[in-house]
Assembly symmetry: C2
Homo-oligomer: 384 residues x 2
Amino acid sequence: MSVTAARGFTAAGIAAGIKENGNPDLALVVNNGPRLAAAGVFTSNRVKAAPVLWSEQVLKGGQVSAVVLNSGGANACTGPKGFQDTHATAEKVADVLEGHSAGEIAVCSTGLIGVLLPMDKLLPGVETAAAQLSEHGGEKAAIAIKTTDTVHKTSVAQGDGWTVGGMAKGAGMLAPGLATMLVVLTTDADLDSETLDKALRVATKVTFDRVDSDGCMSTNDTVLLLASGASEVTPGYEEFAEAVRKVCDDLGQQLIRDAEGASKDIKVEVINAATEDDAVEVGRSIARNNLLKCAIHGEDPNWGRVLSAIGTTSAAFEADRLNVAINGVWVCKNGGVGEDRDKVDMRYREVHITADLAAGNESAVIWTNDLTADYVHENSAYSS
Amino acid sequence: MSVTAARGFTAAGIAAGIKENGNPDLALVVNNGPRLAAAGVFTSNRVKAAPVLWSEQVLKGGQVSAVVLNSGGANACTGPKGFQDTHATAEKVADVLEGHSAGEIAVCSTGLIGVLLPMDKLLPGVETAAAQLSEHGGEKAAIAIKTTDTVHKTSVAQGDGWTVGGMAKGAGMLAPGLATMLVVLTTDADLDSETLDKALRVATKVTFDRVDSDGCMSTNDTVLLLASGASEVTPGYEEFAEAVRKVCDDLGQQLIRDAEGASKDIKVEVINAATEDDAVEVGRSIARNNLLKCAIHGEDPNWGRVLSAIGTTSAAFEADRLNVAINGVWVCKNGGVGEDRDKVDMRYREVHITADLAAGNESAVIWTNDLTADYVHENSAYSS
């Protein structure tokens, strides 16, 4: 279903030969209208890949007729040549699709940083992909953008006469602002780019931005939302925004469940914070604590590491009023020893850490993973 | 030589039975004067262990007659009872040493967070240690404060007629502000507590504070500097401060070399920064990037991960002017591909990453380690 669940979109995914192992590595998503409205959110990393610099400009116009995505190379830190390659890719897509302008083609790349793309394979690949564009191509497109992902990720939410669908990739370098991920969402709702932009920013702030697998922020993160208007239905803003949030949340959860080397999905819930920002800051600090992530891997409810992580933040709290629960057992009460830690059952994949700051009424959830030897193995061998 | 290299100090290290495996776990360092001047620097973690809260108060008086240190338990997040235990430990030392006040006894603890200390073993241990105090006890004291350290750490610097010596422990939870470490430095120089404080703060800022093994800040970090005045020599400030910095630097290097599970010591040198703060911020961001740390473990000169780490900071730089060298090979030039990465020889334990921000004339060095499966193993099994 993926990006072709909504009417007005066609997609394709093929193997262009960018990846040496011959796996699919090029995806094309085309908006056939009647509308070409679009919004985008990009990495907050100040070292931005060429396709991010390109697509940011494209999105300023609020119109996107197609997105071309490649795995097998991030085209990041590749200098002027890298940017020329992105430009040439957009031109090629515009040529092949006919009647399109390169300025309305978004480009996304993912893979190793610091390597130029094999344009002699990529450009012919665009022709092959264009020839295979189909209303059933969403699944293949989702498969073609995988890097170390073990599964492809898609999601769909249905409105009353309209649909939001999407695909995502990402398994490592996952951190706020956004994760190393590419996401394309599509809808056949009849909405303008301003409305899409508002709904997308609200949704990503509480979904993808709160996924922090390994604290490492990518140079290539891109989330795009394209609207075709093909349903001829204009939903109410709240209803539409909720559908977008739901699809983003679902895709974000799929990213966490497929994170590199992870054996545990950890829901860090911060409650009774003075502000939502405090809750997010504390949640991220806990989610990024390597020692805690190792302990969770060892099924060890080592709450002292939660407190030491909270202590590094600027959030409002008093150390002797902090409470921490792991899987519902309040192992830390008032900053000290609480219920018996042996009561904590950590056999399952999902682990729920609750940090009670006892400082207000705000809360936030950050998702992360455990730190494992498999993560080390996968990431010590990735580029070699 | 350790803490007894300087005249006027005695020390001991014994097995009190705090550690279940029977290893040494209690150390005592006594300043026999004539001066009892002292300074201290403590963790900036807002969740502070009971001994830190106690010793911060003691140091406000500028006088320390003895330091009692235990491994086998951090006495952190242990509530009012934990603080009472620290107080009782100081009282016991004051009693046993005679003529001392508990208000001049500093207490340090290290080990698992969230567990009360076995006072029935610790208090008799203080008597045993006091009976073994010796001018040659520095080595034994250094051994007794080890936790996951594989070696004990000591260092000495000689002045003209005076000496600075010290011991340190620490192997995990190493991060700025300070590392999970206990450090006791002693000197027989005849100096007041204000001078000691100034020299100690200057030294820790550029040594221990720039050691960041795993980004995790402890609840117990303590660095103490005690002066006996027994040499009857008052060195010039610059000369003395340099000796303190030298001992701190040496001990900091020993901490990095013994970091849990590490196979590489990584010197992150940031050059041509607009400000020293920028250089430190960028250095820490690189040092805390798990993906880069895994790559270094795999002897992979994956400079893209260095750039993606720099990009998350607020330091002054232009992405297309950044240069990165790994072991002297400039693999990234002007934000793009530089020299052939195959030229980088990464067979040795020490790895040198140079990040050139091309934004000014300031620089800083941060030391870190690689991320290994052994680190995960050691820290997933620590408390269970």
